[in-house]
Symmetry: C2
Subunit: 397 residues, 2 copies
């Protein structure tokens, strides 16, 4: 008598949340420092100092009506200007505030964008491994998620696998680079090839095939030689979905944006549909105080050095213990091949060593696990003997 | 090629927003103090002092990971405990934290609740006048909004009109008391009669008919003798949708909740469906810092005396000028009969006197206008001659 699809979604929390909840219980039983919880992508690096200073200063110097009142549905104009100015400066683009729609974070950005685009029978393509909520957002919008396999060693795009999946029904391709859960970044050559393929297919099918760039990890790249191409510059029909969750360590504050460039096909209609979808889904505006904080802090990035330290430590150690790891150029996840075929069984065995890892079946890549290394370096150090023993239990080393 | 329903929603902003935008333009032309903008329900009373103190103190005394990190999808446990403790104390209820699901405000509460309940062919009933976004939320969830006419003089429930509208297809009845836009409060006798009718109909149709109590204006009642009955105590299948927007003057911060009592039909399944709908719609959690503020400030209410002053001033004056006004017991709207049949034409003529009023056609009550008196008392005083001239232009007085 109620919506059983929603009931089932509510009763089957994501695998990540399930392990996270187990971790909370286990820590209460045996002590916080005895459990090595690598389950959740909750940044452990503080927000930049400027963020809390901005909260304090805004509250001290502005009246309540401005601080806490409704903004325009698209977001405060000064905030939107500050965000596009920052983008234009960094990427040589020419966006205006009217291209930007502020949202309650990455999930809202994606859900609103998908809802704005969807028509009956649509398919959205993404690459494995992919963030499992993509399936939820696409399917509950009435469309189908099509997953394109990638190179099994590098998780880079396999164009031979992708090409036949693009059909008359393809509404958009969702790209997530740096990638959750693999940490892989798509280099410029891959982006150019993808853009060329999509342009070709647009001609064949005579309608736009949008590229949705889901990029909450854009700033989380650890080596200066790794560039993250700005996709609107390669392919005009690109919509950018962003969140400040990771760059400013504000995941709970729910703040991000959707960017619809003027060059995109039917840009004005699509922007209107984004506004309509935001309205229909119950988003009135992004949180006002945090919008004002973003205006002041859009150029800031949290100190990411701890993530780089963690990545290097974990990647080196686990590789040395005989694990096969994909080298993560960005984000804060290490993607590791399970030491047996069944990743869930492997994660169960890891629990015996108090290691909480996430099996990647729901990411579209059975046989892998995700290790979220957005934890203290101390936790990484203390966990290494457990990773070693786990490998030994499989006869490795 | 994109979602035209969303495109149209985006291109047809609500009448309220349209007039609000006109007002901004007009103020820039002739000066802020020359335009009497009564279009939007943006509280003009500051948040209680304790709210900004809580923001400041939390930031000064807690670490960033806790302040700005993800909470559980249902909300921070301490926040939920504080909210239900406050409800239990005020209404003699026995809710637990597990009955509560924190949301990004009233619109999110309603959209999530409707999505959690909806099955194909469903109808949701509400009473005229009603907040126009109800139609958007219900129709974009795939259901039909059925509107029950009310007593034309008092806007109280007309049970003779309501009864035949309740059918096999009725999933829920949405009640909004105190009401936007009329300010009307449903007294206990009406609530009792409504509960009795719904119980009877549940027996006839052998399924739950939920009552959705949309109550962002619960605390905005100006006369001590006026009580706002707590609906879960009269009818077990009640789901409460709340927002702190009005009681704490925080409309831009997007913070509210959904309450599913244990007594409600299939309560556990419905709560799960609420969680599933929140997930599917892209709501990850309510803004974390503001959740913590709510934990500290749940018992507070903004100083509402200015609204009472405004209401009395406006109601008396307009009645004196020959307008027919519904006496608003709560909320911050005065609902007035237009001085000609076409309320839009009346609002256009009002513009000539720099009065910005909202025609109530989209509220389901043609011939009426809404005056949002959540403005300064000074604006009310200065606007009175304009209201008088407007009446005179119709040969009143």
């Amino acid at each position: 008598m109620i919506n059983t699809e929603m009931e089932q979604l509510g009763k089957a929390p994501s695998k990540i949340r399930e392990i996270f909840e187990y971790g909370k219980k286990r820590k209460a039983e045996i002590g916080e420092d005895k459990v090595f919880d690598f389950s959740i992508g909750n940044p452990n690096v503080p927000a930049p100092r400027e963020v809390n200073e901005a909260y304090r200063e805004l509250i001290a110097t502005h009246d309540d009506i401005w601080l806490h009142g409704y903004t325009s549905a698209a977001g405060d104009l000064h905030t939107r200007k500050a965000v596009v100015d920052n983008l234009n400066q960094r990427f040589g683009t020419a966006f205006r505030a009217s291209n930007l729609y502020m949202t309650c974070g990455a999930a809202a950005s994606l859900k609103i964008t998908i809802t704005a685009m969807v028509t009956p029978g649509d398919e959205f393509i993404t690459f494995t491994p992919f963030f499992p909520e993509y399936r939820v957002f696409v399917e509950t919008a009435g469309a189908r998620l099509v997953t394109a396999g990638t190179d099994p060693d590098t998780f880079q795009i396999d164009f031979a696998k992708l090409e036949p999946l693009i059909t008359e029904k393809t509404k958009a391709v969702i790209v997530n680079s740096p990638n959750n859960p693999s940490g892989v970044v798509f280099p410029e050559a891959a982006v150019q090839q993808l853009a060329a393929l999509l342009k070709e297919k647009e001609k064949v099918y005579r309608h736009a095939i949008y590229l949705i760039s889901d990029e909450p990890y854009r700033e989380l790249v650890y080596d200066p030689e790794i560039g993250v191409p700005y996709l609107t510059k390669y392919y005009p029909d690109t919509v950018v979905c962003y969140s400040f969750s990771k760059s400013l360590s504000l995941p709970g504050e729910r703040i991000g944006y959707i960017l619809v460039p003027d060059e995109a096909d039917h840009a004005a209609d699509l922007y209107a549909a984004v506004a309509g979808a935001g309205r229909a889904l119950g988003y009135v505006c992004a949180p006002s105080l945090t919008q004002h904080v973003i205006e002041k802090c859009v150029g800031q990035v949290s100190d990411l050095s701890v993530y780089k330290t963690n990545r290097d430590l974990l990647y080196e150690a686990l590789s040395g213990y005989g694990y096969t790891c994909v080298h993560p150029d960005g984000a804060f996840y290490l993607f590791v091949k399970a030491l047996e075929e069944d990743a869930s069984a492997f994660c169960e065995r890891a629990k015996a060593f108090e290691l909480l890892l996430v099996p990647a079946d729901s990411f579209g890549t059975p046989g892998y696990v995700r290790i979220a290394y957005c934890v203290t370096t101390d936790q990484i150090r203390r966990s290494l003997p457990a990773f070693k023993k786990l490998a030994e239990s499989y006869g490795k080393i």
